[in-house]
Subunit: 313 residues, 2 copies
């Protein structure tokens, strides 16, 4: 498979072959520090040239309407129907599976909102009981944990990004998952959020998913990239032809892997999680954590490079 | 390798070949509900017959002196020198590695006590800042996380059982681990604690370790079983011959695997995490999460069975 640094000639060819551009957001359009230079102009250029732009994000922290506001705040024009996030896609998955029951959510208000939109009942969002007394004896803690009251109606656990993750939440989620026929969904398994140049690691949803999964000894059904659910949703709603689509992302093992699975063209940018060392060299597989068997068709230092190449079209 | 249900004949042979018995505690001697019937008598019988008993536990929630009290409370006679837990073994590991620096501990007061015993400086134990306001915007949260102050002196992260595990603790631990030359230790990776008959899953240290490890994208050096550190410590202090030792445990992938690695005889009991379905059948590997390539020499429904077989010796 070719994997080449994007040139002006590539960019022109891509433009002639592509109607729909799908963008990962964090690490491509913006990061923890704000907009990534050149990204706003690139999106504007694509729109000027009649291309359709979609936002396809593993971020589960916002509902679609909140995400639309976020896009607009950063200067990216977006309709709600152009956005697919994992909070929305998870709720849609349950809805189309004709799910009846109650979801225990390790997550955030954005996820609750999307579930509410489909009238799916849920509990768990927000801070849970948090023990603050460090002098309690371990054996007394165990006794009190064993007395945890579980909701008899819960038959699904959905794990997404939860800043209030706690021991008690992990305990409840794992206990529900042990039930016969309890569905276990995860929005995504990202390791961390892109924060170029900071010495702080912002843990991603994978940290919550793995802790629950390890205690429950079961693997979740993952909704986000690299699974294909989010593209399937967009393709169905907008009648997309994979051969006329390109995915742009900052991660090999989510964005690019989904693109490969869905037969989309792909562009990897280095403004987020992956760098050039994550790419396979001379046919050898990259050994980095973020690397993958699936390499992108093209790579570029940043999305703005692509924008420059198409600015005079 | 033989893997047989323990009989009276086996038990007699084991007694003639063994001077030192190493016991895992939780799931063998007791569980979340109290003492496991027959265990106290078995230990007494072994001592009456002149055998030496050691307590070798992955539990990191107690220092050795606290663990001694716990043993005694449950009716198991134990000297402090008969006990090796992962809190002690981790501190000893740092001490014998001539560690200079400061440890960020995702853990509990027992771990702090053991580090103090070796004059190793540490921070992090107990509740951290816990955000309780669910209305804070995601982007504001990210901004505040990016402003987290890290201690410049920390050059080791040690993760053990922490009932106060939180997003902020995972963030700090992962950020420290990103530093050049920062050591990353974990006491153990157990999935959950044995709680026979309860529908509550009590998550084990593995849930904390994996969440930190995933965000940091690095694997820890694990001190507890199935690694051999804890046997090495005991063997050195007491001049143990592996061929004259037996390990008794409830988990294939920790207790029994360590026994195999150290060339100890092994007995698996079904009063904790593993059941008969975890054993390989007809030479086929068990597919359960807890199964392992390494099967025990013997298995029994409970430790009391062994006790019965040796009661008239």
């Amino acid at each position: 498979m070719s994997c080449e640094r994007l040139t002006k000639e590539h960019a022109k060819k891509v433009m002639s072959e592509t109607d729909h551009f799908l963008f990962d957001c964090d690490g491509v359009l913006w990061d923890g520090n704000g907009t990534i230079p050149g990204s706003v102009d690139t999106i504007s250029n694509l729109k000027r040239l009649g291309k359709k732009v979609y936002y396809v994000t593993n971020n589960s922290s916002s509902s679609r309407d909140e995400y639309q506001l976020k896009c607009q705040k950063y200067g990216f024009d977006a309709d709600m129907s152009d956005i697919v996030g994992t909070a929305f896609a998870s709720a849609l998955y349950l809805h189309t599976s004709n799910f009846k029951g109650k979801v225990y959510v390790v997550g955030n208000p954005g996820m609750g909102k999307e579930l509410d939109n489909f009238n799916i009942s849920h509990i768990g969002i927000g801070p849970d009981e948090v023990e603050q007394d460090n002098s309690v004896k371990y054996s007394d803690r165990v006794k009190s944990w064993l007395n945890t009251q579980l909701d008899p109606q819960v038959n699904c656990v959905l794990v997404g990004f939860d800043p209030f993750i706690s021991y008690h939440k992990i305990l409840k989620a794992a206990s529900y998952i042990q039930r016969d026929n309890c569905l276990f969904l995860a929005t995504n398994e990202d390791t961390h959020l892109p924060t170029q140049g900071s010495d702080i690691v912002i843990p991603g949803t994978g940290t919550m998913v793995l802790s629950v999964s390890h205690a429950a000894r079961k693997k979740p059904l993952v909704i986000g990239k690299p699974e294909t659910t989010m593209f399937d949703v967009l393709a169905k709603a907008n009648d997309l032809q994979p051969s006329r689509c390109m995915m742009v992302g900052d991660r090999m093992n989510t964005d690019i892997k989904m693109a490969r699975r869905c037969n989309l063209k792909s562009l990897l940018v280095f403004t987020g999680v992956c760098g050039i060392d994550d790419l396979p060299h001379n046919g050898l597989k990259a050994e980095s954590f973020e690397g993958s068997d699936d390499s992108p068709d093209f790579y570029a230092d940043c999305l703005g490079k692509f924008g420059e190449f198409i600015s005079d079209l």
